[in-house]
């Protein structure tokens, strides 16, 4: 079981290193979106501080969406997904491996970039720490829930647009609690409640998503 999980993870990592443009695009998109907003609304410090958590979180959310469309589609097209479904290893474990790689490739760079971008919004250093923490808890939720959406829209024409419509509403709780944690900290309230709820969402989605996603994939394969 673990062999299957590690292989599935390593395989996608190797593929990501051969296809650098894909995840670099997502990261660049995140940087651009979060850079454009301050340019658009002007250099008023109090306003920038106020919108910073929301902007950074929305940027993270949209950039993970970019990598999701290809999460299963290329494996579906070349028949690898069939072989995965036939593996004696439960499909959920192989799917979990792919999710972890998606987070490592699309989520983790965003988390690492966020404090640097947060500086542009004049976030105090304590809030930057909370921002990183909230993204660290939140971005795996985006990968886990997004994988389910990718599986449900697999093989559909115009699946990309449908994926966004399907998944973005499900991202709302993560967005509210993630951005809320940073806002709370800036307002001088303890962000612990927000972070705890984010943690609960993380546990819930990481636990159930591989299993439900594997069921959706089996339907797509029939």
């Amino acid at each position: 079981m673990m062999t299957g999980f590690w292989t599935s993870m390593r395989r996608d990592l190797v593929l990501a290193t051969r296809h650098k443009s894909e995840w670099l695009t997502a990261l660049f998109f995140f940087v651009m979106v979060t850079n454009l907003l301050p340019l658009g609304v002007g250099p008023e410090v109090s306003l920038l501080r106020k919108i910073a958590p929301g902007v950074l979180w929305i940027g993270a959310l949209l950039s993970t969406l970019l990598g999701l469309q290809r999460l299963f589609s290329s494996d579906h097209a070349d028949g690898t997904l069939e072989q995965m479904a036939l593996s004696p290893v439960p499909l959920a474990w192989l799917v979990a491996g792919k999710m972890v790689t998606h987070w490592l490739v699309c989520g983790l760079p965003v988390v690492l970039m966020a404090p640097l971008l947060g500086l542009q919004f004049d976030l105090p250093s304590r809030s930057l720490g909370i921002l990183v923490l909230s993204l660290l808890l939140g971005t795996p939720i985006l990968s886990a829930v997004g994988a389910l959406g990718a599986a449900l829209t697999l093989g559909l024409r115009g699946g990309g647009a449908l994926l966004s419509l399907l998944i973005l509403p499900l991202y709302i709780p993560a967005l509210i609690f993630g951005a809320g944690a940073v806002e709370a900290d800036m307002a001088g309230i303890s962000p612990q409640g927000h972070l705890s709820l984010l943690g609960a969402l993380l546990v819930l989605s990481v636990f159930f998503s591989p299993w439900v996603t594997s069921l959706a994939l089996r339907i797509a394969l029939e």
Binding site: V14, L15, D78
Partner: protein, 201 residues
Amino acid sequence: MLAVAQLTCQRGERTLFSGLSFTLPEGQWIQIQGPNGAGKTTLLRVLAGLVQPREGTLTWQGQAVQECRAEWQRALLYLGHHAALKEELTPLENLRFSLGLEAFPVDESALMEALHRFGLQEREHLPVRYLSAGQRRRVLLARLLIRPAQVWILDEPYTALDVHATQFLSTVIEDHLERGGSAVLTSHQTLGLRPGMSIAL
């Protein structure tokens, strides 16, 4: 032994086949025949467990396949239409990952030997993108030599192969049958194999 009883399969409104029954004993092979669109691939996918039949049962070693899914998946090797290869990876990496995804131990020298036997010397480290259709097919077929399985389910295995590779594949299948394995295949070509059973759809 694989036994199929009263298998019925529908695709949309159309019934592809109904009341299909056969058994596949060890050391035997079955050729599925029929015109394009008759449901040959669907039958293979039903046997592999990718598609649920509308009616009918599949039994493996006397047990319903639903009850011994993991054992059946371990005993079966299904090679479909698609090459199931990643273009960015080399043949060697492709084989290594395909074994790993099924949690089979990887023996590097066996991988090399399998590729060599299928005539892919000096192509082991070339990304699959640079290989021809026939060569890609050979990389896929090399799995027959390294992934242990009792039942081979092969969808058009001879597609895109040259004369030499066709003959070699026939000897590989013949060896498999000799060792007590069994095979189900769809093919339009005449095969240089021992006489087997035949099912027409």
